[in-house]
Symmetry: C2
Subunit: 336 residues, 2 copies
DNA sequence: TTGTAAGCGTTATCAC
DNA sequence: GTGATAACGCTTACAA
């Protein structure tokens, strides 16, 4: 198990090192007999090329970076991210890329990560998740011509490459479904008010109300942080109105579950008195009672599009359109 | 933004390229004045060294590989993995390493990944998750002297470096707690029977029964796959016994939640008629009703130990002991 | 203390 | 077709 290199192979096969390289690259110009000889030795010794040398020489690492703009603790319990990472890994593999994952705790470290990954040429391109809608670093990356794709939204929309859930459409779908099934007082339980996703889904919610000729009532819209307590108090606020809502569209499954629980504690039956729809179609939808109806966002599609786009950029293809949307669909269960 | 290299910096600072390298490495031998000059130029141009060249020259990529032995779809919704990945990323950062994540769908591709990552020298070392207890590839890695750490268990225990949850201790703790709080008919709801974790926790469960002088009844032990239906039917089986159990130790929170739900559907009150304890202390424990008591496994500790150990191996330190255990603790909520 | 130069293991451009 | 040979950008003896 001495350190194998092409030179070794060459010596044993009685050819030049350059020929070994050519054989391994599948160069059609090499004589069949030599190819055989080389491949035989390669097989026998189990030679594998050194990725570091290839990276330096070819100026390509075949590594994609995934930067998640979130505190590790916040990221920790979120099934969305394991899904996203798993799918991107799988997709990247199809193009012979590997995935380097980083998390950006603070804004300061985020900048450091961009630098560290891209400027050092450690990765060939970046997928960024959950950046703010406006971000100096993104402008910078863009100006410097680094290949990167954003998962989420960015304005103006054609400035950078983005892949996003169809958040507006998803919220429309949820609200529309509730209205069609006879609900009339549909409330919206959002996440933190500043988040793009909160705003986008609010927009879809409003659009559906309008399409059904139902007036928009700001009192039926509340915001919560991503924890059970905050969700519970926001739900309580909704339920205390008179008349109380007969349906809730929640920003994600966690919030939806908290809302269901609060409603039940206050004597409302779900879905009889109040219907609840969540987002993400996470596994736990199946586990709660009643089982949670949820809007599934297609994480595999998101991952596929993002990877495809990034690899395209790296290899010099300008994608169009620069903004791509992964569709959503309603998974009907018992809660609505 | 021409391609910056040390040679450029050297020219502008009026020194040799080697000196630039020395300054950047913090070599104390360089004269303060030159250091200033070099650093000034570096700062001004925003030079960052090329990781690819460094990797080739130093024979170190400063990249750790994380190989998760699980189908991407199975991995997809599992909050444990986002936690693990997030924590390892954070830990690796402390040693100036980045993390390359791969998933191994099939055994065939798993072998490919080992090869691809290690033999190509793409990463300096590997963290392997959820391998089978006996694995040919692991032997091979071990024989070839590649630095790697296993998260999970391996036999014989001192053959390779492993980091694991204290599964036996955790199950003991859960069972002991239930017995102390007056439960007498404690059942065990495991995962798939073949899994090491299922077996280890069963062992802890038995030990606790024994310590309390409670007889072990094989009928009180059932196994389920990781999905709601399977969990429900296993729970139904438990509840149909007479007398039915008055407590369940479930292998993970998902199973525990499914069990609670099944029990409630069959008219049992939780925790009054039957107490339930889960594992992992995942965020959803807070969201279900009643809130789920769960054994928290310290994922950050797991990640820290694994990373520490691996970096040590890479840098030539033999760790001892070769097997390290992350402690568990009981997080008491409403279900038990 | 600083500069020169020899690699690290590839790929790719030349001649032959 | 195949074999020398020059990069790729850096680290590190060794020389000065």
């Amino acid at each position: 198990m001495a350190d194998l290199k092409q030179a070794e192979i060459a010596k044993l096969a009685g050819v030049s090192q350059a020929t070994v390289s050519r054989v391994l690259k599948g160069d059609p110009q090499v004589n069949a007999e030599m190819r055989e000889r080389v491949l035989a030795v390669v097989q026998q010794l189990g030679y594998v090329p050194d990725a570091r040398a290839q990276s330096l020489r070819s100026q390509r690492t075949r590594l994609l970076g995934l930067v998640i703009h979130r505190d590790p603790d916040a990221l920790a319990g979120d099934p969305f991210f394991s899904a996203l990472i798993a799918m991107i890994v799988a997709q990247a593999g199809r193009y012979d890329y590997h995935l380097c994952v980083d998390t950006a705790r603070t804004a300061r470290s985020q900048r450091a990560i961009y630098e560290e990954l891209l400027r050092t040429r450690r990765v060939d391109g970046l997928i960024l998740v959950e950046s703010e809608t406006q971000d100096r670093r993104i402008e910078r990356l863009s100006n410097e011509g680094f290949p990167f794709v954003l998962i989420g939204r960015y304005e103006p929309e054609d400035a950078v490459c983005t892949v996003d859930n169809d958040n507006i459409g998803a919220a429309y779908m949820a609200t529309d479904y509730l209205l069609r099934t006879g609900r009339r007082r549909v409330a919206y339980l959002g996440g933190p008010a500043g988040l793009t996703v909160t705003r986008d889904r609010l927009q879809g919610y409003k659009a559906a109300l309008e399409a059904h000729g139902v007036g928009y009532d700001p009192h039926r819209v509340v915001f919560a942080d991503f924890n059970a307590r905050s969700a519970a108090s926001a739900t309580t606020e909704l339920l205390s109105q008179s008349p109380p809502p007969d349906a809730i569209v929640a920003l994600d499954d966690m919030l939806a579950i908290a809302a269901m629980r609060t409603a039940k504690q206050q004597g409302c039956r779900v879905p009889d008195d109040i219907a609840v729809v969540g987002f993400n179609d996470s596994p736990l939808c199946e586990y709660v009672e009643p089982r949670l109806t949820s809007i599934a966002v297609e994480i595999p599609t998101l991952a596929r599009k993002a990877t495809e786009m990034l690899v395209g950029l790296i290899e010099g293809r300008e994608p169009s359109p620069k903004r791509q949307i992964a569709p959503a669909r309603l998974v009907k269960r018992e809660s609505a």
